[in-house]
Subunit: 105 residues, 2 copies
DNA sequence: ACTACAATTCGAAACATGTCGAATTATAGT
DNA sequence: ACTATAATTCGACATGTTTCGAATTGTAGT
């Protein structure tokens, strides 16, 4: 347990997911709730459907879908189908984990 | 100023630098001071010469050099020649900036 | 000057990533 | 059943990344 290099691997996968500017933009929208037409409330996980998330990013739907899948695989973004749409959000715990990675003990 | 997408770009470059497991290991050593034969003192930026940093990572010196250069270009690691060696360290400010990226306002 | 050690640059090979358009699946409403 | 909208999968192509060994540069000591 507490396998050092396994944890390192998890984090490097997270950072890989955030290393692409488009993916980081998607993640930031979910994280900051500063996206078009959204009220800001940091206590509740913000939800977007896939299409709205990609708004203004100028990427093809297939590319958007691919990026969200990567974020989901890295464990950074949750996804759930809701009718015709698929809703996406970030769990606050994930933010805490990432934030504390950079805080020396 | 306070150009949103420029800041996003800086961060995606940082995360790209940390997306490689070997580079993340190098960065972690400088950050955590948990490396072989080092006393732990979080108040002072820890310094390693390039060779010692790569200890146990099983990568060629040329690869090690390349990775450190990437970390340096991303602005995450500082480097300074000191005689035969080149010393590397992480500025505590960088850690603070990265950590607070994940903290919603 | 010569030697030894530390680190970097260069070129090449194998592999991974970002992107698209076309085709497909999922769901809801008519 | 049919149609429209949302999202995904697939195959392809161009570009980037990781890694190495060989050659090179920088520095200190003999």
């Amino acid at each position: 347990m507490s396998n050092y290099s396994a944890m390192q691997n998890t984090f490097s996968n997270s950072f890989k997911a955030l290393s692409n500017p488009n993916r980081l933009a998607l993640f930031s929208r979910l994280m900051n709730c500063c996206a078009p037409g959204t009220k800001c409330d940091a206590t509740i996980a913000v939800r977007f459907c896939v299409g709205d998330l990609g708004e203004g990013l100028n990427i093809a739907p297939s590319t958007l879908s691919h990026h969200l899948k990567e974020l989901n695989r890295a464990g950074l973004v949750e996804m759930e189908r809701k009718g015709k749409n698929v809703e996406c959000w970030v769990e606050p715990e994930k933010l805490k984990a990432l934030s504390s990675f950079f805080q020396p003990d």
